[in-house]
């Protein structure tokens, strides 16, 4: 019971301030919590093309889009072993103001994977999602293909038997001029796994957190 209450409490924290209501089901009078139902509406379908992307941020609140950004987001890329999500972001700069573009992604998770060139991480410690190649840029990026200035792809996942996983990414698209990254827009997406069940965090536009914004220039984070 204690574990269940902890999970419920953590669920509230991680989703707050999303518009969700916890419904406690009682059986045998006031004994026993049978379950929790999230009542926030299913996120609206994401625009696959166009500049007016709106996405529900877990609570049905429309966000202003990032001009030029297209999203292909699958809430479940799961297989027999893993649960997770798949995201493919395409960007065409409507102003065409840069000759180079890049994606910078920060991940926070309580179950980090190990990477070379990186010290062991504590729970929820954010890290720049790059291979330690001396740049802050997310590696699975492609340029001038499929009609976009740039595309990034990720499909993070964890073992489907996981009891408690929180995984969040902040990803920023930006132009690069004289080696300097100029952010143009930031999104958050991710997933949770509770007792082997996937809970998807659909992409939504946000402001970069201080840690993420600092990673654009702070070489010690690469």
């Amino acid at each position: 019971m204690a574990n269940q209450l902890t999970l419920i409490f953590m669920s509230c924290l991680r989703r707050w301030p999303a518009n969700c209501v916890i419904k406690l089901h009682f059986s045998n009078g006031l004994i026993g919590i049978r379950g929790v139902i999230w009542t926030d509406a299913d996120p609206s379908p994401l625009a696959l093309d166009g500049n007016a992307l709106t996405a529900s941020a877990g609570g049905g609140v429309a966000q202003q889009g990032i001009p030029g950004l297209s999203i292909d987001f699958s809430p479940d890329h799961s297989d027999r072993y893993n649960l997770g999500v798949n995201i493919k972001l395409g960007f065409n700069d409507p102003n065409g103001q840069f000759s180079q573009y890049g994606w910078i992604q920060t991940v926070r998770t309580n179950k980090p994977q190990n990477f070379p060139n990186r010290p062991p991480m504590g729970h929820y410690e954010p890290f720049n999602d790059s291979p330690g190649d001396g740049t802050p840029y997310y590696p699975m990026s492609f340029f001038n293909t499929e009609g976009y200035n740039t595309i990034m792809v990720d499909h993070p996942g964890r073992d489907r038997n996981s009891v408690y996983v929180i995984w969040r990414a902040e990803v920023t698209i930006g132009g690069i001029t004289d080696g300097v990254f100029v952010p143009l827009g930031t999104m958050t997406y991710g997933f949770d796994i509770f007792d082997g069940k996937l809970d998807v965090i659909y992409p939504y536009v946000t402001q970069p957190t201080p840690w993420h914004a600092d990673s654009f220039t702070n070489q010690s984070k690469w």
Partner: protein, 146 residues
């Protein structure tokens, strides 16, 4: 009947990992990371024909001779498994399609993946495969070899 269809759908949707992989009918070798991960590890796709696939699938064409050398390496490499040994970061699925026959195996563990890919990279250099392919393997090794 409805239950049967529903069950079949569930089975398909939970057991199929190919929904983001292009179906390639011609001869090819592909090496896909299948373990849990934070960042995607690029798939390695080696073909004998020039193909264009949606990113992140970027196939690299090799000659028939090189392709045969690589398939022989896969046949002779003793540590590939028919099933996943454990589900950990750094485990890869290796798919080989020659003619109409497709074989799938797994590298087992991250450490075995390192050994497999290190020797694979050496072979690629020995047979004179494109630098782009060697560099792809090096990038993968950089992520998993620690």
């Amino acid at each position: 009947m409805v239950k049967l269809i529903f069950a079949a759908f569930l089975l398909f949707s939970t057991c199929c990992n190919a929904q983001f992989q292009s179906k390639i009918a011609s001869d090819h070798i592909r090496i896909d990371h299948v373990g849990p991960s934070d960042a995607m590890i690029e798939p390695i796709i080696i073909t004998t024909k020039k193909l264009t696939l949606p990113v992140p699938e970027v196939p690299i064409q090799v000659s028939q001779d090189i392709f045969e050398s690589l398939t022989k390496y896969l046949d002779d490499f003793g540590n590939l498994l028919p099933e996943r040994e454990i589900n950990e970061f750094g485990v890869f699925k290796v798919t080989k399609r020659v003619g109409n026959k497709t074989e799938i195996c797994f590298t087992g563990t991250r450490k075995k993946s390192v050994k497999f890919l290190t020797e694979f990279k050496k072979l690629l250099k020995d047979v004179g495969a494109a630098d782009e392919l060697v560099k792809k393997i090096e990038r993968v090794l950089k992520r998993i070899d620690y």
